[in-house]
């Protein structure tokens, strides 16, 4: 279970990047340009793969030389490092990537050696698992709840704080009545969208009693 902490899966993938000396702009550079263009806020493509806690894509050129005595080491190629923390099992997650953000997967992994394309999700999953290395140890800066559970909990917490703020000091019977309304509205309220909300505490979902 080296890849798992509680129910959160920590995936590490190293995909070798295609080297081709005959092209003008190398794959690593093109990949960097593309990655730099991806949004990192709630419009990130990984917000659409809604079980994602956190995802990171990095181009690694080589290992960095450290220390003396001089002992130079090199990687066999450049790599795309893909790290993600998500809920559930690996096959489901990778399949979701193939199905839900195929254009992003295509734009990223087309620069990598042996990438079979995304049209056949099973082929993509098999390819990714071939590139997987054991994460062995990772720091999941989240509790052991799913993304959805956390979003729901934050929604309830925020709604409750607003509720108390609005109703504190009212007679008990009134509070109880309003609380019933709050619970009902919360039960009906749609779960907040993953990927965070940049407008912070003002979203309509936060304030079902307003």
């Amino acid at each position: 279970m080296a890849n798992q902490s509680g129910q959160v899966y920590g995936l590490t993938i190293l995909s070798p990047i295609v080297e081709n000396e005959r092209i003008d702009i190398c794959h690593a550079t093109e990949l960097r340009w593309y990655l730099a263009s991806l949004p990192r806020d709630h419009t990130s493509p990984f917000a659409r793969v809604s079980s994602t806690h956190l995802a990171r894509l990095v181009v690694m050129d080589d290992v960095v030389f450290v220390g003396a005595p001089a002992h130079e080491e090199h990687l066999k190629s450049r790599y795309l490092v893909f790290e993600t923390n998500f809920d559930g099992d690996l096959d489901t997650y990778l399949t979701r990537m193939a199905r839900e953000i195929p254009e992003v997967v295509e734009s990223v992994w087309k620069h990598c050696v042996g990438y079979p394309g995304v049209a056949d999700p099973a082929g993509f999953v098999a390819y990714m698992k071939k590139c997987q290395i054991a994460t062995t140890f990772f720091f999941a800066d989240v509790n052991d709840k799913t993304v959805q559970q956390n979003l729901r909990a934050l929604q309830v917490q925020s709604a409750l704080a607003h509720f108390i703020e609005k109703n504190q000091g009212e007679p008990a019977a009134e509070i109880q009545k309003s609380f019933g309304v709050l619970l009902e509205r919360l039960a009906k309220a749609p779960a907040p969208l993953p990927g965070g909300d940049d407008s912070e505490e003002t979203s309509a979902e936060d304030r079902p009693h307003d």
């Binding site: 704080a161 607003h162 504190q168 505490e201």
Partner: protein, 470 residues
Amino acid sequence: MTNSAVIRTDNTKIDVSDIQGFALKGYNFPFARYLLLELLHPKAAQNFIGQVVQYLTTGERWDEKPVATVNLAFTHRGLVQLELPEAALLSFPVEFQQGMKARREILYDTGKNAPEHWDPVWSEDRVHVWLAVNAQTPAALEKQCALLVQLMEQTGGARQLQAQDAGAIFIDGKPTSKEHFGYTDGFGNPDFKGAERECVPGQGKLAKDGTWEALATGEFLLGYADESGELPVAPIPHLLARNGTFMVYRKMHQNVATFRDYLEKQSRLYLGGKEKLAAKFIGRWRDGTPIELSPDQPDPAIVQDDNRNTNFTYGNDLSGLRCPIGAHIRRANPRDAFGFHGELVNRRRIMRRGLPYGQYVPEGQPVRDEDDRGVIFMALNASLFRQFEFVQQQWIEYGNDLHQGNDKDLVIGNHDGKGKFVVQGTADAQNPPFVCAHLPHFVELRGGDYFFVPSLTALEMMASGSVDPR
């Protein structure tokens, strides 16, 4: 985190005669003036520094309390103006080189706290020197300041840009340690090895057996081992750094009318009553009693007992039923609230100095936000980045470590009317849960900077132009 490779020495010896007294102890003098200076021609400025050094107050023990003290510190621009060698200038930590204004995004000094609202003295980036006089009487203060101004004029080395007065609030003719919101302030300061004072329970750091011991000297003075067993990051040469430290200076305007009005309105809904709510804000009753030790009423006996007034932990109050998790003193120094016997806070401690400024208005009398009053906050630490900036960013202006989401410190947080503060509570009618919402800006930043507080040896090297980083 027991690491046998970390060497800890308990025979720390510090040369108190080489260290500025301000860096070792709070003087507890009722009057102070902070002169903010621009250095002029480098040679004349060196001469001026050389003259001032002879009046400096060191950390030596006093047989008799002096009538006034003098201390001195420099912004990085000041050191540039003194023409320290570039190799030395560039060896200072980056945050000090940049100065506090450049760090505004990191510190959340934005909106009403942004530099465009600061006192004009900070707008031209000419503040080079902080020259501080603390005094027992107004006459002694005037006399000492006049002497320093005379030195500026004689040497032509410096020019006064602002004279910031500060002082204890007097009530019934007696100096107190109250601040303008009515709280008794200035209890806790971390003890460290080598300092004059024995470790007071509740200060320093928590040992595994629950007792308190002094922190490593290098958390507060350069040139000594810190809590990691290493020397703190410091400029070169070693002699320039050793026995010196870094100081943050922040002028914090207090909106007293807003505070009183807010407390009054909130407490109408809070069943525990106004004074209890005020205590929940800070973690101390307004007389200074820690709410953790006495949750139901103030207790003067605790306040007066130095072995008790800072001697508490939060380990048995993790849900914040006595002291709210977001209370000011619990944020600024969470002690053992994060577990691990308090080890997570040992490298985030700051030594506070500071005094109120402006006219005190007793409760019940008309008061206006616009009137010039607040506190001059000063804090000393070996690393502005690791200590002050971390506390300010993560514990004051954010709530994640405390599991308080985006909530900020109620009193000094940068709120803009949006913040909230949760008082944890129980079914007990006297201690109900409560939410303070729409927090206004109680405190506004009016300026400040990062300063280097050199040792006397370093000052003499600077004065003689003999700082040699090679």
